[in-house]
Symmetry: C2
Subunit: 202 residues, 2 copies
């Protein structure tokens, strides 16, 4: 009987260690991302992916391929629609960003003044269906649907996800006062705010 | 007069050094890329960008945002059209790649066997308008327009440009025999073949 008891307690110990191991694995995974890529099909119908405005009126955001959602490590792709009179905040990030305009027209405001105290008056560019542009790293910028009638639909590509965004209240706010929003709105479900953000260059 | 001559020869020396400096800068830039981003507008009309088939029947390739062409360092975006009965070679790369299908339908062949000697029989997936998929790093794959009538149009996003592609003749070719094509077809104008390719993991 002593032998059986020994085996029983050894089994219990192994079971406890296994539970401890699973708990550690779970916690360390949860630290990085609360989302799971298990069971997601390789080919996905974009029109069936979850979309949300994340509390921002006029926005529809879909993460087409994401770090938290789909396990991407180096690039992330979003499909975004902005109703007339809506757009992004004035913001900057140290990742690369490319836009492909699928529908509509709008205005890109961009201030290439990362070596001055604040962005200052931005340059204005008209963006339109079938146009493309990229945002130079760390340039403060804003995309705003200045059209009165038509939605703006863009594919957005960023490098080094998840994105770490610094938001300005206006173009005269000092770079150092811009507020880090991390995780960004659509990453909140997948990332803890206690995950340290990457160092910013400004 | 001697003083004036001294100044003259000093000026000549400074001028020579300046020319030498410019030559060094030019040569080191030319090593990396023969393309220039000077003078390119920030917002570009994709329909006006150069497109080519690079000797591959049925292909139309446009570099929407590229390393050599537009100074991208972390991501690159292509717009590609494949006529019925055309597609990519069987190939692999160690960068991330995301596809967004804009028009048409086709077949994705993919063999997730980077730990075996050769890719082997690939899995097949139907891809279609408004679908998206990504290629796991180093998986051998091929996109082929298996539709009889309609063109396939895709936006392709890769990380870590310029792309270093290893091409297979068939699915039974050993990974180690796959042939490096660098610079890739559309990068040939911008990159010298003597630029060392990144180390491959296989």
């Amino acid at each position: 009987m002593a032998d059986a008891e020994d085996i029983g307690s050894t089994m219990e110990m192994i079971e406890s260690l296994w539970i401890l191991f699973l708990a550690i694995v779970f916690c360390s995974t949860a630290d990085a991302s609360h989302c799971s890529i298990d069971g997601l099909p390789l080919v996905r119908n974009i029109t069936e992916l979850p979309q949300d405005n994340y509390g921002r009126p006029g926005l529809s955001h879909i993460t087409v391929a994401g770090a938290g959602l789909h396990g991407m490590k180096e690039v992330e792709v979003w499909l975004q629609t902005f109703a007339p009179g809506s757009g992004t905040p004035i913001h900057r990030h140290s990742c690369e960003e490319v836009f492909v305009v699928l529908k509509g027209s709008a205005t890109l405001y961009i201030a290439s003044n990362s070596n001055t105290k604040y962005p200052g008056k931005p340059s204005e560019f008209r963006i339109f269906s079938n146009s493309t542009f990229h945002i130079p790293v760390n340039d403060a910028h804003q995309v705003w649907n200045t059209d009165e009638h038509e939605d703006l639909q863009v594919l957005v590509i960023i490098s080094r996800p998840p994105v770490k965004v610094f938001i300005y209240e206006d173009w005269l706010m000092p770079h150092t006062a811009a507020k880090l929003k991390f995780p960004y709105y659509w990453d909140e479900k997948c990332y803890e705010s206690r995950v340290p953000a990457a160092k910013d260059e400004l």
